[in-house]
């Protein structure tokens, strides 16, 4: 028993930060606006693939170095080049990282936007879930087989996080701070959005989009905006996910990632950004705790079966939660703008 509590905390919080971004984006989309985005893996992967492309193409240009083809026989040289630049030219690494975030967010936002219009043609609402689910797989299969993007199934390694030049624990703490900062901004943004007239509009659309339309609301445009926002946040989490791992590979962006995010949001509480945070936190901690438990159990002489039981446990907890607390751990509060409070103050004052 030799737990490095600090390192474990850093690791768990980093994953929490990245996952909470995904959960926040799904919470805005499904929890608040009622759009069943089962394509989280798709939008997260767009962030990751963009990272793969910018780190191999943009980074050398920014650093004023010659482009080295990232795949095939020059692979080792290209990795060396990336590591060199990130270690020795932190400013370039940061600029590259920032540009990556922006590009990824914009591309993903546009794709989400386009999807939402495509989807207007769907007969039933839940078809959207299916289209996005398989859309993610189509993109994954394409990227996996198409060399020029991220070296097909080989993936791109050495896409380090921008603080890597600091080395050791300070690098991971700095990156953690960055992740938490971005997650915090997204959280505040979503919390404020919900408490604004826009949040009211989204709730109205969630409840009855037909009526909202006859009351003069452009539902299609609003849904497209929400998809734009949600997809942007998801892509940003994808960039962070990729640089935290230091590796971009299609194997990570499968259907199960989408399901994990759904579990977080349903567990935490639909429609409540705090719930999204809590859900991501619970999953991050539970994932680590069960992994630790599995290690300890097999060190104590049990077999490896707990690795399977972990998944069963997850599923059972999810089912019990959905059954006995369908509104999640933190249910959606009745959000209002402050106009209510003012009116209350005034009318009771009369």
């Amino acid at each position: 028993m030799n737990i490095d509590y600090v390192a474990t905390t850093i690791a768990v919080l980093t994953f929490f930060g990245i996952w909470s971004l995904m959960a926040i984006s799904l919470n805005i989309e499904y929890g608040v606006a009622g759009i069943p985005n089962f394509g989280k893996a798709l939008f997260v992967s767009i962030g990751a693939y963009t990272t793969g492309v910018t780190y191999t193409r943009l980074l050398p240009i920014l650093a004023g170095r010659d482009f080295i083809h990232p795949c095939g026989s020059t692979l080792a040289d290209a990795i060396q080049l990336r590591s060199d630049i990130i270690r020795t030219m932190p400013v370039v690494a940061f600029v590259n990282f920032g540009i990556t975030l922006v590009i990824a967010a914009v591309i993903s936002g546009i794709i989400g936007f386009a999807f939402s219009y495509l989807v207007l043609r769907l007969k039933e609402e839940w078809f959207l879930a299916l289209v996005l689910l398989v859309g993610g797989e189509i993109v994954r299969i394409f990227v996996r087989g198409y060399q020029p993007l991220i070296c097909a199934n080989n993936g791109i390694s050495a896409v380090s996080q921008p603080f890597a030049f600091m080395g050791g624990r300070s690098a991971s703490i700095a990156f953690l701070m960055l992740v938490l900062l971005i997650a915090f901004i997204a959280y505040v943004y979503s919390e404020r959005l919900i408490r604004s007239p826009y949040g009211r509009l989204l709730k109205a659309i969630r409840e009855n989009e037909d009526i909202a339309r006859t009351l003069g609301k452009d539902v299609a445009k609003t849904k497209a905006q929400v998809m734009f926002i949600g997809s942007m946040i998801a892509a940003i989490s994808g960039v962070l996910f990729a640089v935290n791992l230091g590796f971009v590979n299609t194997n990570d962006y499968v259907v199960t990632l989408t399901l994990d995010v759904w579990v977080m949001v349903v567990l935490g509480g639909l429609g409540n950004p705090k719930g999204a945070l809590l859900g991501a936190f619970v999953i991050a901690v539970l994932d680590r705790l069960t992994a630790i438990a599995a290690i300890q159990m097999n060190m104590a002489g049990f077999n490896l079966e707990f690795n399977f039981v972990r998944f069963i446990l997850f599923a059972v907890i999810l089912l019990l939660m959905m059954r006995y607390r369908p509104q999640g751990i933190l249910p959606e509060p009745n959000y209002t703008t402050e106009a209510h409070d003012n009116l209350t103050a005034r009318t009771t004052g009369d």
Binding site: L122, E124, L130, V131, I141, F308, L319, M322, R323
Partner: protein, 306 residues
Amino acid sequence: MFERILIDSLIRSMQVGSLYALMALGITLTMSVLKLPNFAHAEFVTVGAYTALIVSRNVSTNPIIILGLSAIVASVVALVSHITVFRPFEKQKSSIYIMLLASFAVGLIIRYVLFLTADTFDLFDQRIQVPLEIWYRTDNFILSNVFFWVVPTSIVLVIALSLLLNATPLGREMRALADNFDLARVIGIPVERVKWLTWLLVGALAGISGALWGIQTSVSPLMGWVVILSVFAAAILGGLSSFPGTILGAYVVAFSENTIMQVLNFQFGLSFSFKPAIPFIIIVIVLLIRPEGFTQFFKSNRSLKR
């Protein structure tokens, strides 16, 4: 050469399509009668395959016994998941997305129980002990015994199912449920009993298809999961409501995965590694352009209307 590829892949499409049809019918049934997009169907299929594996090793290699026991075990699993999970969720009127997540969770549980079993008894990637024999041979192609089990079994089951739906009281009740749930309850249809029977039927179909799929390939805990989206593509082509549409959809998906893929590969050099994208592209295109699938071709038929 091209001719031979064509014939060969058409036979494959036939064989794979028949199996897809069996699996997709289960999806269509759950979708229309029970209003559930059931992703755990994949695991019912795997349960059937594992039952077949264990039976073939320990009990008998007679295909009828294997298929029968697979059907029984899988239908019990399906019914149990209805009673323990899906019925309570239905009762609390959960949204379709919660139901979808619940079906994923059920699938996860079954899958990892199978993983546990496979790990304990070393049953990863095993072959069901049914020998392959050549039953028909011409210059251009060869038909195996598996072909002669898979295709007629599927056809017989599909016909039996159509009869059941169209000519028996149970079938009428199921169609009534599919048509209008509240009305069915009001006019006195024993809703819960019909649901139980539907789940048994769905499980049996999945079990049989799993056993046959296992005979055709090999048995592993993920075998159902890797085909489930192709099967969903078939059910969606059938508009998620029509039986004949679903069967046609299954053959179309199998045809695109085999024959069309083969032609694309032969003529344009498209790599087979893109093959898994085919059913997905079918799903997207159908849902966007023709969400009713093939239902309209079978208007005269008494389809399970949604």
